[in-house]
């Protein structure tokens, strides 16, 4: 049902006002990062009167105390490895559960549903203690591996496969295709959309996590960018909004770019799961 644009003008005006309100904090963040320190504290206008790059050059010159590029590298590394592991492991498990007669299938599915109902806080501190006891704190392992225990991905792919017809797999099987060939040529192409969805959710979850990385890292060098921003808020940028916003711009750009590129898949992911 298409309505004419003219009829929609009042609604469009309302939507535009709300859109400006939504964008205002981001616009303010970007412009403040180009203000001088004194202006950033005193200004009541969004645009800088004097444009400066000193906040950004300041970030480059203070990388020893706030190694923001190391933080970006850490985040890129753990989100990439973590996302790949989660997607591969979850797809294999979901396929075995949905299509093959895994021994103990009912028990595994039962555990997955039970885990979905248990709040994450319950396992958080014991998991920290576990990594502490085996001496793995402040390494990449606790920053990556716990995300692989998430049952949401298996649940998502499993549900998708249940509603996906088996005909193609059966035809391939009758033609003498091996298990691996069926997986590679039939299943993988079919579940690509749901795999993308899972990848995007996992990426954002790892990228934006704050509490868990704050428990398992000690040194400045092992921080993620999200945790690094928290350190700056509580530390050296506490009294410097201009520099704080420059750091926040750098921290925010990768997530926003990925978000815009993957927008389509995120829309789907919300439809499919509704899991935050």
């Amino acid at each position: 049902m298409k309505r004419s644009t003219r009829k929609a003008i009042p609604l469009l005006t309302l939507a535009t006002i709300i859109a400006i309100l939504f964008l205002l904090p981001l616009i303010w963040m970007v412009f403040t990062s180009f203000k001088t320190l004194s202006e950033s504290m005193a200004s009541s206008s969004i645009l800088p009167q004097v444009w400066t790059l000193e906040n950004y050059t300041g970030i480059f010159s203070s990388v020893t105390e706030a190694p923001i590029f190391r933080w970006l590298f850490n985040t890129t590394f753990i989100t990439a490895i973590g996302t790949i592991i989660v997607v591969v492991v979850d797809i294999l498990a979901a396929y075995a559960l949905a299509r093959l007669n895994v021994p103990g299938k009912k028990v595994i599915l039962g555990m997955i549903f039970a885990a979905l109902a248990v709040p994450g806080i319950v396992t958080l501190f014991p998991a920290f203690y576990m990594f502490k006891e085996v001496g793995l704190l402040d390494s990449y392992i606790p920053l990556i591996m716990p995300y692989t225990a998430s049952t949401m991905g298996v649940f998502l792919v499993y549900n998708f496969l249940l509603s996906f017809p088996k005909d193609l797999e059966e035809a391939a099987y009758l033609d003498g295709a091996s298990q691996w060939q069926i997986l590679y040529h039939v299943i993988f192409p079919a579940i690509k959309p749901v795999a993308m969805t899972l990848a995007v959710i996992t990426f954002l979850a790892i990228y934006n996590d704050y509490l868990w990385p704050s428990l398992v890292t000690n040194s400045n060098e092992m921080k993620t960018i999200t945790l690094g921003i928290a350190t700056l808020i509580q530390g050296s940028n506490f009294v410097n909004p201009a520099k704080m916003m420059a750091s926040t711009v750098i921290a925010t750009i990768p997530a926003v770019v990925i978000f815009l590129l993957a927008n389509k898949h995120i829309v789907k992911s919300v439809t499919n799961t509704g899991i935050k």
Binding site: M1, S4, A8, L11, L12, L14, A15, I18, A19, F22, L23, T32, A42, S44, V89, L92, A93, A96, L97, R99, L100, N101, V102, P103, I108, A117, P119, I121, T123, L124, F125, P126, A127, M145, T148, A149, T151, K166, Q179, N208, Y210, L211, T226, L227, I229, A230, L232, I233, Q234, P241, M244, M245, T248, A255, V256, F259, V267, V270, G274, K276
Partner: protein, 297 residues
């Protein structure tokens, strides 16, 4: 198809990485947490002996410091759940209705704008709102003063402004997600029903009440549940924007559990608190399911 020994081996090989990770990083911490909660357990010194239910008793006996931490945290968190869930659900529904009624060519752009802040981390959100609402040199106060207001509003250091700031930051950060769920639900509504309602001369409110609402009710319930869980897990905003203040009024339950574990070195008591929090959340969600289920009969 898919029978025989070789498939069994395949299937076990395929499912085992996940099962191993799940047992190692979920089931083991869960079991360990329950075990630790029955012990006097230090983060640094380790297990100092079995104490039975003493940790739970201490948390639930009024007057102890842990009772104070738990009850204060729980009260503050429940308060946030109560003030944040209605706007997070209702404003999201409003935004979804606006998007749904826009001409098709404008839908994507507005939907993306309303949703974009969801991709930002809680620490970046906190950095932005900390400096928008800072008492001293914050942008909002600067604007208010330039408009002629005499005294700066103590946004972060005085109630109810501190909660208001946390609430605005949270709504801005997460509302796009709920909106997306509502948009998807609205897309599923059969448009012929609207046409029929038009023919009957139904107004906008009647159309919403009798056509839209029954069709999005289930998704709406799901969104309420998700939002309650998310608001219960309040941590980053209060840690970074108000740091629990003023006078500990925004100390969330997770913050206070963290204080018990690290500040007081009591992993046993902290684990018991986390389990109690989990139980309380499960009971509240179970109650909501029961309410929803009962209404259908």
């Amino acid at each position: 198809m898919y029978k025989g020994a070789s498939y069994k081996i395949w299937s076990v090989l395929m499912v085992s990485p996940f099962v191993i990770f799940f047992l190692l990083f979920w089931a083991l911490p869960l079991g360990l947490g329950i075990w630790i909660s029955f012990h006097n357990w230090n983060v640094s010194a380790g297990n100092l002996g079995f104490v039975g239910l003493d940790n739970y008793k201490m948390i639930l006996t009024s007057g102890t410091i842990y009772n104070n931490l738990f009850i204060t945290g729980l009260k503050n968190t429940l308060y946030f759940v109560v003030i944040s869930v209605p706007p997070l659900v209702l404003i999201a529904l409003g935004l979804a209705l606006i998007i749904d009624n826009l001409p098709d060519k404008f839908k994507t752009i507005y939907r993306t704008i309303f949703f974009i802040s969801y991709s930002i981390s809680v620490t970046a959100v906190s950095a932005i709102f900390l400096w928008l609402f800072n008492n001293n040199g914050g942008f909002v106060n600067n604007v208010l003063m330039s408009l002629g207001m005499k005294d700066a509003v103590n946004w972060l250091g005085e109630q109810p402004y501190a909660w208001l700031t946390i609430l605005i930051a949270t709504v801005w950060w997460t509302i796009g997600f709920n909106m997306m769920l509502f948009i998807n639900a609205l897309n599923e509504v059969d448009s012929s029903l609207y046409e029929a309602a038009d023919l009957d001369g139904a107004g906008a409110w009647a159309k919403f009440r009798y056509v839209t609402y029954p069709q999005i009710k289930n998704v709406g319930f799901f969104i309420v549940i998700m939002t309650v869980i998310a608001s219960f897990n309040l941590y980053g905003q209060t840690r970074l924007i108000t740091n629990g203040g003023p006078e500990q009024s925004t100390n969330s339950l997770i913050m206070n559990i963290q204080t018990s574990v690290f500040g007081m070195n009591q992993l046993g008591i902290g684990s018991a608190m986390a389990l109690l929090m989990g139980i309380i959340m499960t009971v509240i969600l179970g109650f909501q399911y029961w309410l929803n289920y009962r209404k259908k009969d």
